[in-house]
Symmetry: C2
Subunit: 189 residues, 2 copies
DNA sequence: CTAAAACGTAGACTTTTATCATCGTTCACG
DNA sequence: CGTGAACGATGATAAAAGTCTACGTTTTAG
């Protein structure tokens, strides 16, 4: 399974990477059960996770204790609260496995050491950041410029597999609408 | 005015930076008039801007050709469409000066050369990315978890100067609500 | 300086979204 | 297995947000 991570990195940096085995050793394999939490708000985010298999939800609670999903991350991607991870400050977010997951986790100490000593790993970090940022930018633009119905259509076009793979409740919370509304609008397509 | 940029960098990296003068030379001073565009959707974003003075709006158009503001960036911060800038692909965003601005612009060629050859500048780039990303994460969480009224209160608390400094129209578009709604809700506080 | 344009507020009204309750269905777990 | 909890759909209703018009004020540009 670690080969999924190896492949991910070589795909991005080419296969002439020194220290790749050393990098891979810093990652701990972790299995997360469905609904298991990897991070709770108030705790410091101690790891960056690479998802080899499964799906993670990053969410916050609104004033009425409903979940609002900032991001849904699937296999072959990275997931963390990078802000808390980088600063050591308590996180305001929660991360939960919405499917049984196979993950690789790297802690802050190893992560920082590698970004400082292994230039290739530093590039990986920048790519994680850039990809996360790109994703965020698109998401903000959809949230501020589209209606609920348009956001549903957007998801169908750009991340169609999510809609069949995940519960309606989760999709609705990702789109920033209520599950009842999602159910009705979806029926009208 | 270039000293604002010099100060910004030394504040973050300490003042023992080699090549700082070389770095600063790569930045072109630019004055932008109120309402002048620095980027139009469809064009490639050629520069990263440092704002020494003034305020920039990053926005997209929705289906009805209304502006939806992804971000508002003020002095002592960086602004760009990093996705288009990094990839060279056409941007889907627009950037406009909402006040007369004094900017420092660095183009892609110089930027990439510096990230590769000057480790200190690479750190600056990572900090720009991290700050932009952190900002985006907060923004997504407010957009998915707060009502219009709550978002107004949020802005009053965390970016109060924006509310007095900018037009209601712009603030409303930043909050993802219509100007009429913003006007009414504001009156009810 | 002045006319035109843009802006901010307000009222009336429509549409969209949220809330609440209900009811089969599905799913998880003992 | 069976049973209790979670889920998804739907109707009725309430609340929130959007739309349109109007009007006085401010800003802009010639």
């Amino acid at each position: 399974m670690i080969n999924v991570l190896r492949q991910h990195i070589t795909n991005r940096l080419g296969d002439d990477i020194q220290n790749l085995d050393q990098v891979l050793l810093a990652f701990k394999p972790i299995k997360a059960k469905r609904n298991e939490h990897l991070l709770r708000q108030g705790d410091t985010c101690k790891y960056v996770y690479f998802i080899a298999k499964g799906c993670l939800q990053v969410y916050v609670y609104d004033n009425d204790f409903n979940e609002s999903t900032r991001d849904i991350v699937t296999e072959d991607n990275w997931c963390s609260d990078l802000l808390s991870f980088g600063s050591g400050n308590p996180s305001s977010e929660n991360i939960r496995a919405v499917e049984p997951c196979e993950l690789f986790a790297v802690d802050r100490e190893n992560f920082q050491k590698m970004t400082e000593t292994i230039p290739q790993f530093d590039k990986v970090y920048k790519q994680i950041l850039e990809a996360s940022y790109a994703n965020s930018v698109y998401r903000i633009n959809t949230l501020v410029s589209l209606t609920a119905l348009e956001r549903i259509k957007w998801l169908m076009e750009y991340r169609p597999t999510l809609m069949t793979r995940l519960s309606s409740k989760l999709i609705a919370s990702y789109l920033g609408i209520h599950k009842d509304v999602y159910s009705r609008l979806k029926a009208k397509l």
